[in-house]
Symmetry: C2
Subunit: 116 residues, 2 copies
DNA sequence: TTAGTATATAAGCATGTACTTATATGGAAA
DNA sequence: TTTCCATATAAGTACATGCTTATATACTAA
């Protein structure tokens, strides 16, 4: 039953508060690394390493646009992950409770800056 | 958002092949430790330690009857766990693939033996 | 090219995990 | 009681995890 092992490995990735929240937020829209750094109030390498794990497990897709890398969900073929994410609070509610009333991070191609 | 942390901690427990399978099997019926020892082909302390984690997280209840301890699911108030378990293969299919065609472990109060 | 920004990777460290073996506890039978 | 069986706990160990700091890479703009 290596299927159970595969599912367990996926769930292990969701067994971290940061990654679980990331996936929850990605249900709403794509996010770039600099936004996650801001909203999670964590170091950039830490965020980057979490995203690498999610990407390696094929739970997210990455899309580089200019100097920014945007991540989006990639769980169409993973009902167990969908099941978990569906049972979580709505992304907007999570964002609301994460310190900022709303995400006001801007990755602006005009000014080429990622700032509040 | 400590709710997310709580859910993540629950999911962390499901992020282990053995515990995930245990919970999947417990959907079908209650199981005693000696049955798990047989079907998982693992040491008794290892099984016992997994059950303690599940019990500490209130994901299972224990019921001692004679010298045996039976465990059953306790996730009525945990929709995220229910969501995961619902997405898994049926318990009978899991058992079928675990080496024995069916569980023929017997915890027999008459002979007071737990054997095949 | 050079400088600046965004992201990724590497290495180190503290902590957590899942097993092992050995031993303790709890209950049933003699 | 003593013995046996089922289960729990303790201690040790190998490995995994999540962070940190430092550095490398990728891209943009001047």
């Amino acid at each position: 039953m290596e299927l159970m092992a595969t599912i367990a490995d996926d769930l292990k990735l969701l067994g971290d508060k940061t990654r679980l929240t990331m996936l929850a937020l990605l249900q709403q829209r794509e996010w770039c690394v600099c936004e996650f750094v801001e909203i999670f109030n964590m170091s950039q390498p830490s965020i980057s390493q979490h995203m690498r794990k999610l990407k390696t497990a094929h739970l997210v897709k990455e899309d580089r646009r200019g100097q920014w890398v945007y991540y989006s969900l990639n769980i169409k073929d993973k009902p167990h992950i969908q099941a978990v994410l569906s049972s979580l609070p709505a992304p907007a509610d999570i964002v609301r409770k994460m310190g900022r009333e709303e995400s006001i991070v801007v990755c602006d191609p005009e000014t080429s800056s990622c700032a509040l």
